[in-house]
Symmetry: C2
């Protein structure tokens, strides 16, 4: 099979008829498959079931002399703070451990920046004439939406294989209206890129014009390798401090993809001063976090070494799925030459770039054939991919057999959309 670009119109038409016929067969199968969300599979959830049973008596609920069943310890139990400090390589006093959603922490930081300002804000962001926020793209649509929700102008920063385009970032932060940037430093969503040490160092050494510039460092996949050994990462909080920017970064993580999705526990980590500032703000909205669930997790996960052992078991379940994606793409799409994609070793996504101008159409075709994908453009500010090319594949949820079926439909739709475009020109 040759690349589409080298084919004559006649050959393309013949190819179109053949792909079209296969697509029609797919449609008749009444499939209902989903590769839209980074949801863990049932086997992954089953694998951590012992979490349900680690606390079973009143005695189990005592920790460091604290009864986790009662009010108190707004920033979380000390053992939970120690747990995250070890994972993130920071200090316990630099952490605030929370409930089941790290996204809620990120939302609260931006929300409070809007209503009250951050530690070094001259005024609340709602009193600023304009707030701009940098969005390395493709990125995570829920991040972008939080800042859009609070009226910020979203500015696209292209991703490179080493992380966000730092030349551009360094230039853009000279604008005092630029108040922050969204980052997923390890296995970025969706590209699966690990920011290089050089990129991370440049982040820590940024010289933003805004005194309250915030690096929103969502370390969502900090221990989430599915291929190969654990990849260490530098402590961004320390690096920022060393660079004279101690209060510039807010780091986030959760156990949503370590234990139960949406029922784990989360952390925000930052300078001691930022944690003190936010502890004061958070005291207005809550008396204490769910410390029972925090302790349940600490008892089950124990420490970093044991967490990495559990992640190895997740990897064993995840790897075959990413392999199935790679196999389908290599066999069905690579020869056609109109698309490229990443090959991550961790995280939850494969990011594919199909023929520009055909991503939306391809996913429309998928939908009609019963395969649901993350909407095209979702990984860009305002949901608009200027090239209409990027598609996020989330292979974690379906069993491998379903995934193979879904990938066959997906590849067929990619081809059909590309052929439609080539033949329309």
């Amino acid at each position: 099979m040759n690349a589409y670009s080298s084919m004559s119109k006649g050959k393309l038409e013949k190819m179109y008829r053949s792909v079209s016929a296969h697509y029609e067969i797919c449609k008749t199968e009444g499939l209902k498959l989903n590769m839209a969300r980074g949801k863990p599979a049932k086997m992954q959830l089953d694998m951590v079931s012992e979490l349900l049973n680690v606390l079973s008596s009143p005695e189990d609920c005592m920790d460091d002399g604290i009864d986790v069943r009662n009010y108190g310890e707004l920033a979380g139990i000390p053992s939970a703070r120690r747990y995250w400090a070890e994972i993130l390589d920071c200090k316990p006093e630099q952490t605030f451990t929370g409930g089941s959603s790290s996204l809620n922490f990120m939302f609260d930081v931006i929300s409070r920046a809007y209503s009250h300002g951050l530690l070094h804000s001259p005024r609340p962001w709602c009193k600023e004439e304009k707030v701009k926020f940098l969005c390395p793209s493709p990125g995570y649509y829920r991040h972008f939406r939080v800042t859009e929700f609070f009226g910020a102008e979203l500015i696209t920063v292209p991703m490179t294989s080493e992380g966000p385009d730092m030349d551009l970032v360094e230039e853009l932060v000279k604008d005092p209206q630029v108040k922050g940037i969204w980052c997923v430093p390890k296995y970025s969503n969706p590209d699966g890129i690990i920011y290089t040490d050089s990129v991370i160092k440049r982040f820590a050494n940024l010289k933003p014009a805004a005194p309250d510039f915030a690096i929103m460092w969502d370390n969502a996949y900090c221990v989430h390798e599915f291929d190969g050994e654990y990849v260490p990462f530098p402590d961004i909080i320390r690096l920022c401090a060393e660079a004279g920017n101690p209060d510039m970064v807010y780091e986030f993580a959760s156990t949503s993809k370590i234990t139960f999705a949406g029922a784990g526990f989360s952390v925000m980590a930052s300078s001691v001063d930022n944690i003190a500032y936010f502890t004061k703000l958070f005291s207005v909205q809550t008396i204490s976090q769910d410390k029972v669930n925090q302790l349940r997790h600490v008892r089950y996960l124990k420490n970093k070494a044991h967490t990495l052992e559990i992640m190895k078991k997740h990897a064993a379940l995840m790897a075959p799925k990413f392999n199935a994606v790679a196999t389908a793409l290599n066999e069905q799409i690579k020869p056609c030459g109109f698309a490229h994609w990443n090959q991550p070793k961790g995280g939850y996504f494969v990011s594919l770039y199909t023929m520009p101008g055909t991503a939306k159409r391809a996913l429309e075709l998928c939908k009609q054939a019963g395969v649901e994908m993350t909407p095209a453009g979702a990984s860009y500010p305002y949901g608009k991919d200027p090239d209409d090319s990027n598609i996020r594949i989330a292979p974690s949820l379906p069993p491998v057999a379903e995934l193979e079926k879904a990938m066959d439909v997906f590849c067929t739709c990619l081809k059909l959309a590309a052929l439609e475009k080539l033949l329309a020109n």
Copy 2:
């Protein structure tokens, strides 16, 4: 013993020397007692331990076909919504069930009103010239603080034995800058007053000038009798709808004082339109609530009848503590004639009114003798009791023997502060 008011100066001086001597003895005992917070006692927490064990296997985690261990169901699992609908006598579709903190729900409603506006807001509250909020007082300081945090002017509304002074409320809501009111309709914090049907009806029939006027209906003690049978309450959501104010009320509750404090699960209930509006807003900040803990609770609490059975067991543990408070006050303070207090049949507090101008001083004396109480004035807007008279007693946490000791110190301090004042005049 006679009332202080009828005593001669000489008698008062003699009394002062005697009370003072007893106080000095108390101080030497190095006590460390706490009646400051409405925290459940260890025996109450132990009593609901079976909650820890109701979910133990993957199969246990399936509910109505939903795997509670994975993302989804932003408004909570259907069984959790049904549970609260039965307790609050509303409809499941009128509920949004959340995480461990109902205060966080209240905060989020006010926070979103500030940044984005409520369903019928002409503009976000941060764009209003001024926002005023009604605070029936004494009331719950955390309520008042939320609205203060967002810059609202707090307006004190006196409490009567039937609920807030509704003549005044009806007058005040004619001001379009008055955007809402805080209410604890059953066993109000701290007075323990149950709003009468007539008061509740007048709430539902309010005709506020502000189209987005919000009744913040914190039904924190909806099933929390410790003396006598369960007292039913009307469904405020239905009453508001019948009165032509379908979107005026937001009701809140949680299991913090049914199971574990700060580790239960919460609910916000309102009109279907309000729930739809807030579900959209909440979708920006979180993917889903902790459904595992929701299911754990639903399986353990079962339904209203079973919840009321559990509340009977709490009552058996709480009643002796409230009796100890009443006994001490009746024996030591009543004859002195300078204070009065309520005798609630539910909730978590006894609200006492001591000689005006002496509450702060009395609690300062308590502190010096090792007894911690809720700060004087805390139950009033801005923490300022204009009469310096009200004191909130929270007897739930200490064992009865400790409580009796603490009450002896407390009564001594009340008397000492009153005598100091009388002798200074």
